[in-house]
Symmetry: C2
Amino acid sequence: MDAAKVDEALIAEYLDRLYEIGRLDGGGVWRPTYSPAWQEARTVVRGWLSAAGLSVREDAVGNLFGRLAGTEAGPVVLVGSHIDTVYAGGKFDGALGVVGAIVALRALQERQPRPRRPVEVFVSCEEEDSRFICNFWGSRAMLGEIDPAEASNYRDADGIVMSDAMAEYGLEPRRIGEARRNDLGAFLELHIEQGPVLEQAGIVLGIVEAISGLNRTSVQVVGQADHAGTTPIAMRRDAGLAAAEMLLAVRSVADELGEPARATVGTLTMYPNQPNIVPSRVEFIVDSRHPDRAAQVALLEAISGRCQEVAARHGVSVSIKTLIDQPPTVMDPRLVASLEGCAQRRGLSTRRMVSGAGHDAQVVGRKIPTVMLFVPSQGGRSHSPAEHTSFEQIVPGVQVLADALTELSGAGS
Amino acid sequence: MDAAKVDEALIAEYLDRLYEIGRLDGGGVWRPTYSPAWQEARTVVRGWLSAAGLSVREDAVGNLFGRLAGTEAGPVVLVGSHIDTVYAGGKFDGALGVVGAIVALRALQERQPRPRRPVEVFVSCEEEDSRFICNFWGSRAMLGEIDPAEASNYRDADGIVMSDAMAEYGLEPRRIGEARRNDLGAFLELHIEQGPVLEQAGIVLGIVEAISGLNRTSVQVVGQADHAGTTPIAMRRDAGLAAAEMLLAVRSVADELGEPARATVGTLTMYPNQPNIVPSRVEFIVDSRHPDRAAQVALLEAISGRCQEVAARHGVSVSIKTLIDQPPTVMDPRLVASLEGCAQRRGLSTRRMVSGAGHDAQVVGRKIPTVMLFVPSQGGRSHSPAEHTSFEQIVPGVQVLADALTELSGAGS
């Protein structure tokens, strides 16, 4: 099979155009779900889908689909990503997967205008908690995992209820069930790595084998407030010192388990937070991740055990609560192999890797064979205007995506 | 010399009365300087000074003095404390020293209506930073350490300039220099310990040998923000982990130096403080104290050195700034011995100790022979409505204060 040839200029043009939508004065973009910027992006993308000769359809939550019919009715090969962004987001997160999918599908059509299996571009309406804390809303709706009543549960920072925000764009929450698809056969998502691994190793493409399971654990340490001048150090029950030791213990646990375990304390608050008062209470959240469920659970248990150990030693009490428990998602081995084969035929270096970040693919991949393809992120930067992947780093990703789509959709009649 | 006999009922009555002034609905009192509650307390105390047969005088900043004349003109034996309180302060901090001084002076007069040296009750107008951050304003004015222009430098939380607040009570900032006293021979301050040492040791009275020098040092740690899921732990420059290790180092330094060194991190802020982002920056303040100047400086240098060591190991940068550097104040050995003698004659147990907290006595003691007398604080609580010292614990303090005043003022003609 000849390799598909992607329109490189179009990749650049489309990415530039999307990065104009939702621009912030301070740099970066914001395209929160069900907002004017989001709608503008959808309108532009709809135009691109039509221009590619695809038949365009919107579902009940606002996901867009652009379909290239196959000689057979199904199952569908799905390819895409999301168009919503975090606040002050960058040019590539989500956008690359949408643009890459459209350009790849154009290349596919040049090789085989009518493939055997239908191929659809999936433009997910929500992935980032960009406005409502309703993570993976678009892909969850597509998999039939959302109850219509759920749209009334979420409010944005201004108190607007999600169901009202949907209605502004003609979307009816009572019809959410209609978004469910039962005809999907595979899902491919091209994305920036959002980490430094590929760049530092000088590898062109990352092929994701698993998306890490994620836990968020809140830890509250309670000691006793005392005067910093009058209380001998040995008589204190200092919640700050106990918490400090717990942070180091969290790090040790991850070190002991080794790569690709992650454990991070990114948020910590001290009370009463006065320079002359021994801290009575400290609250922090541990973000821990592992692509293997057993290791994910072991990581969590070790963190909890070590925090309790530290607390006992400091004479403080500790209360540990699970806020989030998401299991890992394993990517489809056949799709992993297919991407590897396509890259190999183009002579591109690849590395199998784990995604430590969450993606639509982790939701879809629980039910449908799924794979993700990573291109390098410069300096590992993401969720920031500093997010960057050079044009030269992007093109191989779109090419391999096009090749894989061509292979998966199969030659038509 | 017969021991002076204090009016125990009056101590209770006066303390109860003061604790009615500035009451907060949530518990405790607030008597910020140059406020209605402060003025009400001064009016009540003025009445008590007059009722004790003392001649009452107010100075240019609002300190009150109640004078018992001596057969000689000077030098004056001064005794007292402050009437302003922290927000939600307790019943005893400052108040006990004022009430105790008045009751002790009444007892003294019963023994010797006309002592050789004049004795004055000092009711300091400001000690707590209770409204303006102008610590020890009353005693500094009395020592001639305030430039009249300084009153324009401070604003309260509502933006009111201190000089305007003074004017509301008829006080003229341009006359601040007139508050200066050159006739003082000794200062005695009775106070609650504000720490747990006396209670835990079962000792009746603490006799302060020195007031610790105080440093406040701001430490800013700068690392790099990274995605908590995608960045391998070994590739991070985690400002939070570095700061955690610094907190433990601060504690170790104090432990190594031993009692009565104090080093506390009571306030810490993490940035951007998001659960899924490796902290890029952490700021905290170290409160360190020691009664020996050389040890105070050594403590500070060790803390700074260890923080730099930790920063280097974590690949983060650290910037360390001195916010406050107050030297220790050594109490007068003759006055210390005098208090000890008085306590001994009453069969009361005493312990020489260091004050880790700041007091008017630390300002006055730099120029005038000064001593402080501590009574136990239950549970070490202070600066809180939970502040408590039983009546049985208070009376010995006032008795010994009366005895010492009697001894120091000397028999008159």
